[in-house]
C-alpha cells in the first residue's frame, strides 16, 4: 500500500479508530500493529506476507535459541544469516547471478547455459531483511535480550510506517519502545504532523513532479549531446530521489510519533555535505550506520592499518551499491563513492580546503558535483548510457545550453527551484532565525506555522506531480 493512495487514507483512518482502544495493553497493542502491518504489506500481494512471516519466525526462533542454548549461538546465527540472505539473494540477485554466470561461461566458449529466471521482487525485502538481521546479530552479540513474545517481535519487524522503505530502526531502539505504551504529547504529535506534511510535500510536489522529465531523459534511445542539459537532469534526479526517499522517511517518522514511537532521523540535508564522509553521515543514515556496524566494523574498520581500512571501506561501499540493486551500475556507483572516500581519507582535502575563505562552500560544491555524477551511474540503464552522459557532462565542447530551452518547459523546473531554495535557506542558516512579520500583531504570530503547513497540505493535493510509486520500494 502506498502512503500516497486513497486506500492508505482509509487504512490509516481505520487504524486511528482501533489503535486507541488497544494501545494500553501490550498484547492488544502488538496484535493491532501486527494485523494492520501485515494487511498494509499484503495489500500489494498477500502471498508475500507468508515470506515475511516465515523469515520472521526463523529469526524469532533463532534468537530465542541463542538465549536457551548459548553454546549453539554461532550455529544459530549462521542459520539465521543463511535464511535471510538466501531469501534476499533468491528473490533479488539470483537472476543477475545466473545472467552473469551465463555470460561468463559463454565467453569461455562452453556450451552450457543456466535457465534465466526473473522472480518478482517482494516490496521492501532489503529493508525488512536488514531489520531482521540486525535483531539476531544484536542478540548474538549480547546487545539485546531476545523477546519471548512472538507478537512483540513481529510488531518490531513489521510495524507498517517503515516496513517497506525504512528507516531501518535498530531492535535495541525500537523493541524497548514497543514494550511499553507512552502516550504521545501534543508536542510530539505536532512534530509528527509537520513531518507527515513535509514528507508528502517532498514526495508528491517535488519528487513526483520531477519524475517525468528525468524518466524521459534517461529513457530516450540516444543521449542528447548537451552537458548543460545533463547537469540539469542529474540535479533533477538528485532532488527527485531525495524528495522521494526522505519524504517517505519523514512520513514514517511522523506516523510513528503519532503512535508514541520515535524513529531515527534518516536524512539531514545531504546535499549540503562538506565532504564525502559528511555526505554519508547525512544520506540514508539508518542504512549507512547499519553497514558501518554490521559490515565495516566487523571487517576491522580502521583499526587494522591504513591499507586494510581502505579495503574495508571499499568492500562496504561495494556491498552498499549492490544492496541498492542487482546491476553493475549500482556496484559502480558504490565504487565511485568508495574512491571518493578513499581519496578524502588519504588527502584530508575537505579540512584543508575549509581553511581558505569560501572553502566550505567550495568543498560543498565539489562534493555535490561528484554526488551528481554518481547519481548518473545510479539512474542510467546501462554503462554505455552512463558513460555517454558523463562524457557530455564533463566535456565543455558539448555544453549546448539551448537544448534545455528546447526540451524542458519552465514549469518542470519549479520543483527544482523550490527545493534548491530550501537547501540555500539551510546553507545560509536562515532556518535558525526566528521569522516575524513586522505588521502582524505578536499574538497572531503562532498562526503562521499552521497556515504555512496547511498551505503545504493544500499543495500536496492540487500541485502534486503525476508520479506515484516510491523509488526505494524497489530496493
Amino acid at each position: 500500500m502506498l502512503f500516497n493512495s486513497l486506500e492508505f487514507i482509509v487504512f490509516i483512518a481505520a487504524f486511528a479508530a482501533v489503535w486507541p482502544l488497544l494501545r494500553r495493553h501490550n498484547a492488544g497493542r502488538w496484535a493491532c500493529l501486527v494485523v494492520f502491518s501485515l494487511f498494509f504489506y499484503g495489500w500489494w500481494d498477500w502471498r508475500y506476507v507468508f515470506l515475511l512471516v516465515a523469515t520472521g519466525l526463523i529469526d524469532y526462533a533463532g534468537a530465542l535459541g541463542m538465549d536457551i542454548w548459548p553454546r549453539r549461538r554461532k550455529a544459530l546465527l549462521i542459520g539465521s544469516l543463511a535464511c535471510n540472505l538466501g531469501t534476499l539473494i533468491g528473490f533479488k540477485y539470483l537472476g543477475f547471478l545466473i545472467d552473469n554466470t551465463n555470460a561468463l561461461v559463454g565467453a569461455t566458449g562452453l556450451d552450457f547455459r543456466l535457465a534465466s529466471i526473473n522472480p518478482v521482487l517482494p516490496i521492501g525485502i532489503s529493508f525488512y531483511t536488514f531489520q531482521s538481521l540486525n535483531y539476531t546479530i544484536d542478540v548474538y552479540r549480547g546487545i539485546i535480550r531476545p523477546t519471548r513474545n512472538l507478537l512483540h517481535f513481529f510488531a518490531y519487524l513489521s510495524i507498517f510506517p517503515h516496513l517497506v522503505a525504512g528507516p531501518i530502526v535498530r531492535a535495541s531502539h525500537l523493541l524497548p519502545q514497543l514494550a511499553q505504551y507512552t502516550h504521545p504529547t501534543e508536542s510530539q504529535r505536532w512534530d509528527g504532523l509537520r513531518l507527515i506534511i513535509y514528507g508528502y510535500f517532498k514526495k508528491m510536489v517535488i519528487a513526483d513532479a520531477l519524475a517525468p522529465t528525468v524518466a524521459v531523459a534517461f529513457g530516450a534511445a540516444g543521449v542528447v549531446a548537451s552537458g548543460a542539459y545533463w547537469w540539469l537532469i542529474a540535479a533533477m534526479f538528485a532532488m527527485q530521489i531525495y524528495g522521494d526517499f526522505s519524504g517517505y522517511s519523514d512520513i514514517a517518522r511522523g506516523l510513528a510519533k503519532w503512535m508514541g514511537y520515535d524513529f531515527p532521523v534518516n536524512f539531514n540535508q545531504p546535499y549540503l555535505a562538506t565532504s564525502f564522509s559528511d555526505f554519508w553521515r547525512r544520506w540514508h543514515i539508518s542504512l549507512s550506520t547499519w553497514f558501518r556496524d554490521y559490515v565495516y566494523l566487523p571487517l576491522g574498520g580502521s583499526r587494522v592499518g591504513a591499507a586494510r581500512a581502505h579495503v574495508n571501506l571499499w568492500v562496504t561501499m561495494l556491498v552498499s551499491g549492490f544492496w541498492h540493486g542487482a546491476a553493475w551500475t549500482f556496484v559502480a556507483w558504490g565504487a565511485l563513492h568508495a574512491a571518493c572516500l578513499s581519496i578524502e581519507r588519504m588527502t584530508d582535502w575537505p579540512r584543508r580546503l575549509s581553511r581558505i575563505p569560501g572553502g566550505r562552500i567550495l568543498s560543498t560544491a565539489l562534493v555535490l558535483i561528484f554526488v551528481l555524477s554518481g547519481w548518473v551511474l545510479f539512474r542510467a540503464q546501462t554503462f554505455g548510457q552512463a558513460g555517454a552522459i558523463l562524457a557530455c557532462m564533463f566535456n565543455p565542447a558539448v555544453w549546448n545550453p539551448q537544448v534545455i530551452r528546447d526540451s524542458i518547459h519552465w514549469r518542470e523546473l519549479i520543483p527544482l527551484v523550490l527545493i534548491g531554495l530550501h537547501h540555500l535557506f539551510h546553507l545560509l542558516r536562515l532556518n535558525e532565525i526566528e521569522w516575524r512579520l513586522p505588521r502582524l500583531r505578536p499574538a497572531l504570530h503562532p498562526i503562521l506555522q499552521p497556515v504555512a503547513l496547511a498551505t503545504l497540505a493544500w499543495a500536496c493535493v492540487y500541485l502534486r506531480g503525476p508520479g506515484n510509486v516510491f523509488i526505494y520500494f524497489q530496493f
Binding site: E186, S407, R411, V451, W458, V461
Partner: protein
Amino acid sequence: MTFITRHRIAITSAIALALIAATALRRGPSDPDLRNLSQFWSGKMAWRGAADCVIAGDSRAGQGLVPAVLRERLGDARVLNFAFDSGGYSEEYLGAIDRVLDADSPAPTILLALTPYSLTPGAIRLNEFEHQRHLASSPLKSALGDSLDRLQPMRVDRVMTELSGRRTNGPAKDRLWHDDGWVQVLRDGGNERMYVDHYHESFQDNHVDADIVRNVARHVARWRGRGIRVAAFRPPVAAPIRAIEDTCSQFDETAIRAILTDAGAQWLDVAGSPYATYDGSHLGSREAMRLSTEVGRLMADTFVVRHGTREVAQNSRVDAATIAD
C-alpha cells in the same frame, strides 16, 4: 501557551481542509472538462448492445476515427468508438468489444485499429481500459468518483486562473470528449520531433507478442462464427514513427495481416503516411475526419465487394446504403 499554540494541530487541519474544500467547490462548476473526462471513460465502460459498428484500439483510434463520419459512410449505422488510451488487446478488452454490439443489429461490425504497441505486454498491463476496470471494481473510488475529480492536480500556471473561475487567454483545453467515444483533438501541429526522439522507449523490453496476436485472431474467428464482420487496419503515423515501429517493435505487418485474414478479418489498406499528425502518431480533428472518411469508404467497399450484393441485401441497411452510393 496561547490558544493558537495549544490547538495548533486542530487549527492546521481545519485550515488545510477548508483550503482543499474551498478549492474543490470553487473548481467543480468552473471546470466541466474534468467531469466530462471522468464520465467519458465510465460511459464507454457502460456501453452494452448499443452499436452496429464498434471501433476498437488505442488512443490513435480514439482520436483518429470519428463515428459520425463512419456513420455517414456506413449508411446510418450506429457507430461507437470503444478505443482506450494506451490500449492493449487484452483478453478482458477483447471480451468487452462485442458486448458493445447490438445483438439484433442487421450487420454487426468490429473495426480493429492495430498499432504495434497495442499488441505488446506493456499495453496489456497498463492502459485506460484496465484503469477503468479497476475503478469500476473499486467501490471506494466509484463512490467518490465525482468528488475525486475535484481533487485532480492543477498546473502551477493555471492555479490562479482556475481558482478565479476565468479562462486562460489561450485555449483552456485542447480536446473534447464526445458521447460517441471520439476524442477530438483541437490542434494540428506540435513538437513532433520531440515525441519521435522518445518513442523508442515504448518498445524497450516490450515487443509485439505472438500470444497476444494469436489471441486477437482467436477472438476474430469467434466473432466471425457469430456472424460479426471484422475489419482491421494499421493506423497511419508519421514516417519516422513508422520506421521506429518497424525496426524496434517486432511488428511484422505482413504476418499479422495473414493471421487475422486467415481468422476471417478483412484487412483495410489505409494510406501509410499522408496524414499530418500533431505528435508523430495521433491525428488532430481535421485529419481524423479525413482518415475516417477513407476508412469508411474502404469498409464499405470491402464488405460490398467481398461479401457480394446478395449477402448485403439480406444483411444490412449499412451495406444497402453503400450500394446505393
